[in-house]
Structures are given as structure tokens and as C-alpha cells.
Symmetry: C2
Subunit: 361 residues, 2 copies
């Protein structure tokens, strides 16, 4: 079958060029006579790949020697627990901005581990926007402030990060990581599950300020400790080799294609195509997010009736647009437009949406 | 480069047929117009793959409705912590048979989490054998007894499992899982990192008796809970899709090729080729493991001098035998012969070893 336009929310579309490279070398990696998935992680070949991926990611984010990049197993959901296990000491409180379902999950897991507080909670409003810092109530002995930069399910995001002041700022960036330029050095810790903008499911990138590493408790099981991961260059145990290998290729692809600035521009154009239709026919394409908080990665909207929504999904799939159905919490449609989704995909979907409006409004 | 003979201890050789299938369908999985790594884990396609893999594994082991198979993230090292977090209640003690380095690590992590006791500890002897049950000292309120069936680094294993009585028997089978027939229903829990006999690094299989699931504490973070994993059919969060997908193919390959009985026979033949030389020239090929405790997966031996050992490694690599160098804890050589290593590989290596003896003894 020819390649579809993949609007999946994650796991999601990856650059075709990267996939073709993986395929071409799958039986014989770098003339080794074996597949990358058959190779020991203790070889100079894998160690070089692992080290280069850390450096490439720091290059893309403009980060220097005061940060480490860890390639951990599991997803962001694993980090929901590991984060407070590492950085929330007794007597401190972790503040969470509860701006979507995964933000809420992060908050709930932290409550199982230590003292956690909702600095702001937008659940009652239905998660339609990114909050202002002035709305947040912070704890006195704040271990860190946790934000979720993009809310995949609700399609909301901070379009620009506000000034959070001199706090230990931690962000779950799983769903908009590397999609636009931003000042990474304002963050003390960033984590991102790979399966949206970065690679296959199975690894999560953790970018951490070196000065925070000392906070990992000594009595924490090694496998959960950021400090142990950093000391061992993410090779304390066997890493998820294949996932890290694909991530390393995606990072090279990003560098070759203009880095975050180029991605930000491309993603802005793609999102404008979709949101343009929401602005043109707001009674038909009923956006969930408030305009100022619209995600560039996931556009969510409903149609006037559930029958029309079902018809939209069915006709979109038939036309080769996969994954447009919204999450059950919001209903309707969700159009995910990660870095690797070509502009053409959004242009064709926008044309489909225009036609669909004209036939059904 | 042509395919080498891959004696790596893990990640390790996988069936060429499986690798070729992965490569062939890598850009378009089952006519979906996308790669398996771009596909949502919430699709019927992935859910079917996941369910079939559980069933195939239970078929291979002859297990019924009273067991669940979980596909978790991370490696066996992650399970070293998750196991006591789930199954070691306050007031109980977990007993560990310390028979190798990973057994020791499992024991040490358990001590961080609860009350753990070494039922037997062979460190002082240099880990040369599998102990008898009569040597073990058990705790009164025993949560479980943990054994490591095969010790990759030292090349020791239980050739047949002794009768451990009516205990909650837990086994780390990472390095000999599915390599021979055994009575799986004697075990309450089996775990195995995929990267030896099962697939790529990045997932660990946990096979657990359903009756044990209720022991996972309610206040445990969901992502660490066997019970949550079981309730969600391993889809509580985004699973390591690619790793599980390859494991599913390896399981089908095993079924097609005669299952555990055929693997046991093949692995016996391969091991006999290597151990035959150790028995023939024991002054030259100096085996680490005691004869009755020899591993069928990892044969470890030393040569009379370190110079000869270096020469062996160098000439073996030049002849296309990769990964024969031993772990630094034992030194010398380690020949890993997992399921997917063809008999021919061991036959050629045995010939090389015979020639090497004749030239250097």
C-alpha cells in the first residue's frame, strides 16, 4: 500500500528517510555482519551512537556542559513516578500545573510518592487553555514546578512560555518536544517519551541540569535513579537499543533539516492550514482549545452532530488520512501534526475539510 | 558484509528469518501504509498482536488460564525492584539464591525495598555451580524464593530444576528462557529480559500466576504494578511496540520450529560441541563451571595464559566469530549459544578451537 497521511497522536509518523535508512541497514549495521538489535550495547559502535545522540540533542537545544541527556526505558508515565522519587525530598512540596489528562496523571502519581500540590487545576473548565503564572499558587518549600507544555488529548499548549521566575522548572514535553525553538536553559529538567516527535515507543529522553543529580536519594534502587543513569551514560543496564538508535537518526534528520527553527516554521504553516478552517467556519468546525492556547501539534474540534463526526472519520480514512478520530475524553476529531508529517498532508486534509464543509454544512 | 557467527551474551543473535520479515514489512506493516513503529498501540492490529503473543507464549510453556503474560518496559534489572515492590509485604522475607552476579544484584535491590535474605550465597566459591535445595536456609515468613536459572557471566545453570517444594517460586530466566522444555507451572513468576532468546532489548516478559496479582499494593504507582499491567493487558501506557512486535515473531518462529523440545535438542548438540573440547583438553580449555552445572547457553573457560586468551579472541574475530571474549569478572572466553545461533556456528567454532589447540598447546 502507498504511504498514508498519518495523523496519529502517538506512536506517530516518522521521517520516511529515517525509516528507509533503518530498513536498508537492518540486516547488517555498519558492516558488522549483524543487525543493530543483535549487537552488544558494550561495543564501541553502540557507545559512540549513544554519546553522539546526547551531543546532537544538546546541540539542537543549545545546551552546554551543565546538562546531561539520559535515554531511559519506559514512557512519560514512568517518569511521573521517577521524577518525585528523585527530586521530591521530605519536607518539600512539588507543585503541578494540572492542564490536561497527562498533567493530572503526573500530579496523581506524585501524590503517591510525596507531598504534591496543584498550583492550578483547569479540570473544571474542561482543559481549554494554558494558564497564566499569576493564576498559580505556589508552595513555600517548592521542590519543583511541573508543567506539561502540550496537552495531546485537549489540543492546548503554551504558545510561548511565560516567565516562571527562579524556580526549578520541570516539563513533560512528550508531545511537542523539538517542534519549535525555545529557551531550553530555563528548564531544570525536561522529559519526553519518544513516540511523538522523536522515534519509536520504548525510550524516554530526560534532560537534566547536572546540579540536580545530587538530589537522587542514595537508597533509591539504582534503576530508578537519574544520578546512576548519568554516571553510567545511560548504560547502567541494557538500554532499549533499537529505540535509541532510531532517535539518534531522527536527531540527525532534524539537524540536517534546519533544526528547531525550521520545524517551528513548518509546524506553524501546517497548523495554520487546519486552524484556518476552524476560524472560517467556527459553527461547523468547533475548536476545543481557546485560540491563544492552540497546540501546534494536536488540533481538536467537534462537528455539529456525532453523526457528522462519524462520517468525517470514515470519509477521511477512505481518503487516506489515518488517525483523525479524537480521544474519547473530548470526542470529535484530533489532527496530530508532528514534525515528520509533511506540509502536503495538512494541505490535502484542509482541502478535504473544505469539501466536507461544503457538502455537509 | 556477510553474516557473522554471533556469540554475543546479549543483546544477541536473532533468527535471520525473523529479521528478514521485519525488514521486508518495515515501511508498510500489514498493508497499513505505515511502519509498525508509527502505529497507535490502541489499534485492533496492535491489540491482536499483543494478545496473540501472550497466547503463543503460554502455548509454548503449556500454561493455562491461571497465568498471565505481561510485556513490560525495561530489563530484568527493572524487575529486580518491581518484584519486591509487588510481592514482598511487610512482615515477610524474600529468600534469594545468590548464584551469580545478576542473582546478587537482584538480592541487593530487594534489600533496598524490604526484608531479603540470602538462602544460599556462592560468591566465596566464585560462582561455579548451581546449589542443592538442601544447602538453602529459608525464612519463616517467606514471601517467595528467587532463583536465577542461568548465570550468563559465570556460565552456570541448573540442568534440571530440583524440587523446591510448595514455595512461591520466582525465577529470573533472562538468559535461558525458552531454551529447553521445563515444567513452567512449578513457577509462580518467571521474568526474562528479551535480549537473549526472545527479541530486542527494551521489553521484559513477566509470567505470573493470576492468584499473585492481588498482592500488588494499591498505593504502588500504577506503572510499577503487575496487577495494573494485567488488568490493562500490558497496555496501561504506550508499550515498547517494536520490541513486543519482534518478540511476537520470535515466538511464532519457535512454534514453527518445534517449540522448546526442539530447542532443547538443538542447544544440547551445540553445547556438546564446545564442552567436548573442554573435556578433551581440560589443561588447555579450563572450564569455569563445574561439569554438572554447565550452562547450555554460555560456556565459559580460560586458557593457560592471558596472552593466549588475547590471541584466541583476535583470531576468532578475524575468522568471523564475534563476541567470544569473557566478562571481566571471569576473564577468558564466553561462548553464548542462544536458540537462534545455528548449529553450524558451534561446529565451525569447535573446529577453530581444535585447530587453535593444536597450534598453541
Amino acid at each position: 500500500m502507498s504511504r498514508v497521511y498519518n495523523f496519529n497522536a502517538g506512536p506517530a509518523v516518522l521521517p520516511l528517510e529515517v525509516l528507509e535508512e533503518v530498513q536498508a541497514e537492518f540486516l547488517d549495521y555498519q558492516n558488522s555482519g549483524m543487525s543493530i538489535i543483535e549487537m552488544s550495547h558494550r561495543t564501541p559502535t553502540y557507545e559512540a551512537l549513544n554519546a553522539q545522540a546526547e551531543q546532537d540533542l544538546k546541540d539542537l537545544l543549545g545546551l552546554g556542559e551543565d546538562y546531561r541527556v539520559l535515554f531511559m526505558t519506559g514512557g512519560a508515565t514512568t517518569q511521573f513516578s521517577l521524577l518525585p522519587m528523585n527530586l521530591l525530598a521530605a519536607g518539600e512540596t512539588a507543585d503541578y500545573a494540572v492542564t490536561g489528562m497527562f498533567a493530572q496523571k503526573a500530579f496523581q502519581q506524585a501524590q503517591k510518592i510525596g507531598s504534591a500540590h496543584a498550583a492550578v487545576d483547569l479540570a473544571a473548565e474542561g482543559f481549554k487553555r494554558a494558564p497564566a503564572v499569576s493564576e498559580m499558587k505556589f508552595s513555600d518549600r517548592q521542590a519543583y514546578l511541573h508543567i506539561t507544555t502540550n496537552n495531546t488529548i485537549y489540543g492546548t499548549a503554551w504558545r510561548e512560555y511565560p516567565d516562571f521566575g527562579d524556580r526549578t522548572l520541570v516539563a513533560d514535553m512528550s508531545s511537542d518536544f523539538l517542534s519549535h525553538p525555545f529557551a531550553a536553559d530555563k528548564f531544570s529538567l525536561i522529559y519526553a517519551g519518544a513516540q511523538k516527535n522523536l522515534g519509536p515507543a520504548g525510550t524516554t529522553v530526560v534532560i537534566i541540569k547536572k546540579s540536580l543529580l545530587a538530589k537522587s536519594p542514595e537508597n533509591l534502587p539504582e534503576i530508578f535513579s537519574y544520578n546512576v543513569y548519568a554516571k553510567n551514560d545511560s548504560l547502567y543496564n541494557t538500554p532499549p537499543v533499537f529505540a535509541v538508535y532510531v532517535v539518534a537518526k531522527v536527531l540527525k534528520w532534524l539537524k540536517k533539516n534546519g533544526g528547531l527553527a525550521a520545524m517551528g516554521e513548518l509546524n506553524g504553516k501546517k497548523a495554520a492550514l487546519i486552524y484556518g478552517l476552524l476560524d472560517r467556519w467556527p459553527e461547523f468546525y468547533r475548536g476545543h482549545a481557546q485560540t491563544a492556547s492552540r497546540s501546534m501539534m494536536n488540533a481538536t474540534f467537534r462537528l455539529p452532530t456525532e453523526e457528522l463526526e462519524a462520517k468525517f472519520v470514515q470519509q477521511a480514512e477512505a481518503a487516506g488520512f489515518v488517525g483523525v478520530k479524537g480521544h474519547r475524553s473530548v470526542g470529535g476529531m484530533r489532527i496530530s501534526m508532528y514534525n515528520a508529517l509533511p506540509l502536503e498532508g495538512c494541505a490535502k486534509l484542509a482541502q478535504f475539510m473544505e469539501d466536507f464543509y461544503k457538502k455537509n454544512a
